[in-house]
Symmetry: C2
Subunit: 332 residues, 2 copies
DNA sequence: GATTCGAATGCAATCGATTGCAAGTTTCAA
DNA sequence: TTGAAACTTGCAATCGATTGCATTCGAATC
């Protein structure tokens, strides 16, 4: 910058203003400075600027698992908003390790980013709840009722109920639920929705039909093997996510049965995977792009206007009917 | 920091040293300072530090498409190395937009990150080739021969040859190739490998069997529809990636034919998807984690030791035999 | 022609750490 | 007892921008 100033015969103050506050300097000077800056290939040092302005203009998104396509689309949504608002994005995959979380918390506490979007459902180790509530931090997808934070969510119990009710509407009464990992708050929430739907329809709750799982393809296969060995197997399964639903479909087909002829299956999330099964998966679509975008809007708002009242956004889902749900087969 | 210094009755210089150069300060002072820093919840401002040391200790990974599982695993590999080496990672999805690339180039030029890992096969708009060659920048997965940069790659033609040869070894002679998008350098490379295998086996090259595609599921389906309408359809298909291979499998099965009974299919990449098809996909596995890790190692090396000679790492792949390749059916 | 006002510019402080150098203090051997 | 060497610590400059305040200059008003 000093170079540019010298070459242009002005002070660095004028150079700075010519580049960032065009209206504050004489048109002729401005153009000259800009031309020289251009020629010299001058790029402002963002660190110097940031130290002075105390604004990084950037967000950190924390994710458990980057590989999970569910998250990547969310991130995309957030990125597009950041792009518009001139924010840059840092994405961090924690894989659930505490020390990695600490590392990222450090980035935030150290002022490298000025806002946090958490897809993990909890604060990173190293960030205290009291500080977090006064900072630009929002939760997405996974709530944490104990934390007094802004959040962008869907109504998990509600849509799980809706999914289960869809099966009931097709005449199914013996309906299983493949749960997600209970460490994640969405899993009990979806299970709750399942139970509620059964109760509303007056169907007795059979604990044998509630199978533990961990969202993986393999856990879907395993669950179905288990369910098929029951004296009275279910005619429909509500899976807590898409990937495990694909596993379930596979296992059913490998047992020589048909989907949805013998067993109907419904998933949750509507990731890209849903279109890869045969038949394509009926599932609940979460508005992931929107969720990411809303979250980014929220954090940036907090950054620019300071702490606000706790906002909780509940976005709408949609039941996507494809080919894995059919009427309940008549007993042979 | 001034707070801590005051409270401890020492200068900020001593505080700084107590925290970052423990051996340079008296044990008693050090412990006292650290205790006080702890109590006050002091976090060093990374920006101040960075401005002084001129080191961000962080990398930027540039990707076209964050949603692509191929990339996410690569990123994971890079992240794990960065973690060990105490570097932080910023991930940017460009979606191919030039202005987004410029934005990220700015981050690099502005000193926010000190190294660049490019999964895009080209320099981001805004970064000149001459500057790039002297900077810590490496290409991964997609080469660019015109750029004099370090790179971590696989032998695409070689492994495409190997995949095709695998089909030939099963007796197939009428083998199609579903190409990738020609805008990406890996696509012609893989096609080249396919052609080479045919030539080696003395099989005439039939242009009709080389179908254009774009790596998508849909393009796989479309390609197979087209191939099956040929007077003499192929008995095997080498697909340029896994996702399009899944599409191909689906189309074959929907035409009432069997994989691999009637048509054998082989993919490329071995993403998670490969396990989701029925039968599971035979494909070429790229060591993605390793590639990411190697890339990170390389950039960090460049950062720490300054510009070095151009390094090009060629990592080994592996043919993963699952269930989609079988012997060539005898003509009816 | 004097006065006022506004626009354009520069000076110098500032953001929060790190670090070369100098000064002060111990330690230890001769 | 006296230096010399080894430790400790502090001073103040530094990284590269931004910005409040003062200054300068020209134009407009009366």
């Amino acid at each position: 910058m000093a170079d540019v100033a010298r070459r242009a015969g002005v002070s660095t103050a004028t150079v700075s203003r010519a580049l960032t506050r065009p209206d504050q300097v004489n048109a002729k000077t401005r153009d000259m400075v800009r031309k020289i800056a251009q020629e010299l290939g001058f790029r402002p040092n963002l660190i110097g600027r940031q130290l002075r302005t105390q604004a990084a203009h950037s967000l950190l998104i924390l994710v458990q698992d980057l590989e999970n396509p569910f998250y990547s689309e969310l991130i995309k949504g957030a990125e597009s908003v950041c792009r518009e608002r001139q924010f840059s994005v840092m994405v961090g995959g924690t894989d659930g390790y505490e020390d990695v979380e600490t590392l990222y918390a450090e980035q935030f506490l150290g002022g490298r980013v000025d806002g946090l979007i958490l897809l993990t459902g909890h604060l990173p180790a190293g960030l205290s709840a009291s500080l977090a509530t006064q900072s630009p931090v929002v939760l997405v997808s996974e709530d944490n009722p104990e934390l007094d934070l802004c959040a962008v969510l869907i109504d998990n119990p509600g849509w799980a109920t809706r999914a289960t009710a869809h099966l009931i509407a097709q005449g199914h009464r013996r309906i299983a639920h493949l749960c997600g990992p209970m460490t994640r708050i969405i899993s009990p929430e979806r299970r709750e929705g399942y139970r509620r739907a059964l109760a509303t329809a007056g169907i007795a709750h059979d604990p044998q039909l509630e199978v533990p799982g961990d969202f993986s393809f393999e856990s879907g296969r395993e669950a179905v093997r288990q369910l098929l060995s029951l004296p009275e197997p279910p005619t429909a399964i509500f899976c807590a996510n898409d990937e495990s639903a694909l596993g379930a479909i596979r296992a059913v087909q490998q047992a020589g049965l048909s989907v949805p002829g013998d067993i109907s299956i419904i998933g949750f999330d509507d990731t890209k995977l849903a279109q890869f099964s045969d038949p394509p998966l009926t599932t609940v679509r979460q508005p992931r792009q929107q969720m990411g975008a809303a979250a980014a809007d929220l954090v940036i708002g907090l950054i620019e206007n300071g702490p606000a009242q706790r906002t909780r956004l509940l976005l709408d889902c949609q039941l996507i009917e494809r080919g894995t749900v059919g009427p309940c087969p008549v007993p042979r």
